[in-house]
Symmetry: C2
Subunit: 370 residues, 2 copies
């Protein structure tokens, strides 16, 4: 098995667990947050900077890399790790979420999804077999199976059809996936219907994937519904396999996900809001580009020890962003990723001490969710 | 004197010289190339990265900082060094070049220049006194006097009027400049007329500034004309004061300028062309964003040991630039500044060995000026 989780501690009062995830590109601690490097780069950052913020495993997007620069080119370059100069582990998604998000630009059949490129309108077909060809060419440590991600809201009939297709496509993915230094993870679907989640889990677990994604959440449903799905689904999942909650990355959802037994997360949120001039602080979000910070010479977060907060003021960062200077969004990105990775460190410490519920309370006491 | 040059060696066969420029923020070696940080940031870079490429003294723009974020705000922040987290010396230009470049947006009188902001069209007046107020608020180690930079081509009558006004404005600048930890440099004008250059030099030298800029060159005239001006002008300048050739930064002009006795240079060229996807190599310029490099897995310059060339291929950098990923222009910027600073190191070595003319020949043998 190229990828394997070793659970080192289960928390006393929740389903949270500490583990080590071993991969062909090294071992990482779980629970883990994976920064997103959509186009073979975590936006604005060097790999060294990603590492300095605490990033150890990054996600890259099959859909985007297939369109540009093309998976053949990445293979010729020696694979994604070498191409982008990231020496740690990488996970590639399957492109399923992206192509389903294209809406009118795509049509779904049993064979796969036909879609038009968001870049030039050219026509393409993603089948499970094609996606495996792409992901194997990219050569990440973990590849995700091609799934159908149902939207929210979505009626039960549609959710059933999507989960059944996801199972059939998972079988097709497994059949053609043969890269020995890459683990293929299945993706559990079923929308917000607990019985469908159970059915999807049962069908995919029977295929014995080395890890499982939980897809189709964080797509617009209320957080309580997501937590409810996790409460019911995760006890059905094997303890000796990694559990990856896809597309989740707000501070509160990270804590709640870990409490429910999630090992892996990814999300564009911290990097995306950074580029809009919004940063996390221990008190909640702060839009540093706002006029009120023009003469505020304090760091973005006074409790933060990241490079940006140690060296630059809100006033300076606001100036940079208003003047369209790239250093501005570099600094907000560094800060936000550092903030999230520091949160993951705190979560792991809390698990070690069997005080994760207490930590959640302490965190939320200060952090304004508004 | 807050700023002073100590000439440590004069080359045997040219007017080139090695020196140490002492400033309130430390000593730097000359001849020196100053990267430009127009809006209190060298575009795309952190101060640490500027330093890693070999940058030791940076230039920032009075015109831009006055408009945004405003010199009062920078003073409140503790001055430009603290605001932008650059601990080495800084030079600010006078805004003269910028406001004269505004063309129809400005009118010149004896009092000063009335102009409209390129950002919001608001009306402003730069007088020598106002510019001194701004530059003293910014607090750079070196401030430039407010001058009138004549365009090229320009008739002699206009060039005379501009140089006379530059002299009168230099007197007004000197009269109000009183910041003890900042040196005020005069600027020699006179277009491409050697007799006018001589006159401008004589008038400004009589005011005994601690250093002199050579303005109004590299504004579109043929290089040979610029070299001719330097050949005639520099022997008239004092040996014990720094000589700063403003706005020059192409590799060949740097070598030619040093040969003629210049100590300091600045230019946006290396950083600007980097953002357009063009880089210097030992063979000449290379536009890495061009299609021909899509599958070229070699570094930008195979003889370069910069961070970008040690870790990334032309194919990857081209991909980043085509995909509008910021890391792309970060890497080209790092490379170009490293290239220019390495050139300055090679120039200094050649002076040390009295072989600068030979070095020029060796460099130009490989470097395609096209």
């Amino acid at each position: 098995m190229p990828v394997k989780i070793t659970v080192e501690k289960e928390e006393k009062y929740t389903r949270a667990r500490l583990g080590k995830l071993s991969t062909p590109h090294g071992e990482v601690e779980t629970p883990i947050f994976m920064p997103v490097g959509t186009q073979a780069t975590v936006k604005t950052m060097t790999p060294e900077e990603v590492h300095q913020t605490g990033g150890r495993l990054i996600l890259s997007n099959t859909y985007h890399l297939y369109l540009r620069p093309g998976h053949d080119l990445v293979r010729e370059a020696g694979g994604l790790h070498k191409f982008m100069n990231w020496h740690g582990p990488i996970l590639t998604d399957s492109g399923g979420f992206q192509v389903f998000s294209l809406g009118p630009l795509r049509t779904i059949t049993e064979e796969g999804v036909t879609f038009r490129s968001h870049i030039d309108g050219s026509k393409h077909l993603f089948t499970p077999e094609k996606v495996m060809e792409i992901e194997q060419a990219l050569g990440a440590d973990i590849a995700m199976a091609f799934d159908e991600c149902a939207p929210y809201p979505c009626d039960k009939e549609y959710a059933i059809a999507a989960l059944e297709r996801t199972t059939r496509w998972a079988e097709r993915c497994k059949k053609v996936h043969n890269r020995k230094d890459q683990a293929l993870f299945g993706i559990i679907q079923g929308g917000v219907f607990n019985d469908l989640r159970e059915r999807s889990a049962k069908e995919l677990l029977a295929m014995d994937f080395p890890g499982y994604g939980i897809g189709g959440l964080s797509v617009g449903e209320p957080k309580d519904l997501m937590y409810d799905v996790l409460d019911h689904l995760i006890p059905l999942m094997p303890k000796d396999k990694p559990r990856y909650l896809m597309g989740v990355g707000s501070p509160d959802c990270l804590i709640e996900g870990v409490i429910r037994g999630v090992d892996m997360f990814d999300c564009v949120l911290p990097t995306r809001i950074a580029r809009n001039g919004t940063v996390f602080t221990h008190k909640g979000k702060l839009t540093v580009r706002n006029a009120e910070f023009a003469r505020d010479f304090r760091p973005m977060d006074e409790q933060c020890d990241c490079y940006a907060c140690q060296n630059y003021s809100r006033a300076y960062i606001r100036h940079l962003i208003k003047a369209d200077e790239i250093l501005g969004i570099r600094l907000t990105t560094i800060h936000n990723l550092h903030f999230i990775q520091q949160l993951m460190e705190n979560i792991k410490d809390a698990i070690r001490q069997d005080r994760l519920l207490q930590y959640r309370q302490e965190f939320l006491q200060h952090f304004n969710l508004g």
